[in-house]
């Protein structure tokens, strides 16, 4: 079962070498470029919660486009900075935020998901489980809250479970478009992010975003969330 997960379809990133943060290479100019991280499971491994078709499009097309455009924007930024072109530098900020945010958010998202055989859907134990009970009453209550906020988000965005590493408190937040969680607070660290852009669910769930939200919890990787939490709140 775990063996099958190794036979993932190779992505474009395979050749360029993968770093822990999803693939960073260095071009000849010394400028870091980013690459699409591999998924740690098959495209079809999260079915029926999320279809293989969606996983493939989401990873190979949407995330790849963010990576490509992020690299492009960074190169343009490098040029503008070396020319001292302040207006150009400022103008590039939105492209960097959109595409860089898209790359950051999706890199986290793939780690937030796991096939059921690999622990997807298994409720959190240890200190994160305890903190959830403390701050929300129960995992169920947390899930209801995140689903309500995710469903109510207008347009495109994300719903997050995060930890405030200064206050050592769990938070539920939403962000618009590809804004990373840190835009809602500099000490917020994402534990779980759920993509509620329509591309994340439309082919399977159509307009019924609440059904997508209900089902995605069957493949949420609480192990990863716990690891991140324990690192910030040892």
């Amino acid at each position: 079962m775990a063996f099958r997960a190794l036979l993932t379809r190779r992505t474009l990133a395979a050749a360029s070498g993968l770093g822990a943060n999803g693939g960073v290479a260095t071009s000849f100019r010394g400028l870091q470029t980013f690459s699409l991280p591999d998924l740690p499971y098959d495209y079809g491994a999260l079915q029926p919660a999320i279809s293989g078709e969606i996983m493939q499009l989401h990873h190979q097309k949407h995330h790849q486009a963010y990576v490509t455009n992020y690299n492009k924007a960074l190169e343009q930024l490098h040029d503008a900075m070396s020319k001292g072109d302040a207006p150009a530098v400022v103008k590039l900020q939105s492209a960097i935020k959109f595409n860089g945010g898209g790359h950051v958010n999706h890199s986290i998202f793939w780690k937030n998901l796991a096939p059921i055989q690999a622990g997807g859907g298994e409720p959190p134990k240890g200190s994160l489980g305890w903190a959830i009970d403390n701050d929300f009453g129960s995992v169920d209550a947390l899930v209801q809250k995140m689903n309500a906020e995710g469903a109510a988000l207008q347009g495109s965005g994300w719903v997050w479970l995060g930890v405030d590493k200064e206050l050592k408190k769990l938070v539920v937040e939403t962000t618009s478009n590809q804004d990373p969680l840190v835009t809602k607070g500099p000490s917020l660290v994402p534990l779980i992010g759920i993509d509620v852009w329509e591309h994340a669910y439309y082919l399977q769930y159509k307009n019924v975003r609440p059904d997508y939200l209900k089902n995605i919890w069957k493949v949420i990787n609480w192990k990863y969330a716990s690891e991140v939490y324990e690192k910030e709140c040892p």
């Binding site: 499009l57 097309k61 949407h62 486009a65 939105s94 959109f98 207008q154 347009g155 495109s156 965005g157 618009s176 478009n177 590809q178 852009w197 329509e198 591309h199 439309y202 082919l203 159509k206 307009n207």
Partner: protein, 191 residues
Amino acid sequence: MSANTLSFHWGKHHRAYVDNLNKQIVGTELEAKSLEDIVIQTYNDGDLLPPFNNAAQIWNHDFFWESMKPGGGGKPSGELLKLIERDFGSFEKLCEELRAAAATQFGSGWAWLAFNPRPSDGKELVVLKTPNAVNPLVLGYTALLTIDVWEHAYYLDYQNRRPDYISIFMEKLVSWDAVSAKLEVAKAQAA
């Protein structure tokens, strides 16, 4: 644009905005107002009130269906074409700008051709892109044409390929007759 897409877009998304707005305004002062008045009032100069999303999306989708027709596409003519050539240089240049606006609206939103009754640069026709439910009405312009670039508008037919959807809209769906009619109304109101 497939029948499948229309059945969801009109039958589910647009219908939900209508049902939800009706629920939101029942028993409030908004109940007696026109849709346009509700849109402008709940826009609240950018500090959006809860009914805005539903109200504006109803307005936007009404407008979107009017912007298209079976066997659409082609070129505008008459007064509309004259103004396009005056304000954009050529019809091709307008198409380029409209496609670019539609393709580069990040996240959910709309691209528009609109009429500015009080242009500071003399150009009455403008191409705009707006996020989520925002529309030219709240910005003081008169809308002439729109293309919906929320992912639900094209995902079933084109998946991530928004530029392909935009091309088909321009080549096969856009109703320049409707745009001309709206331009006439806009100019009469501005006069």
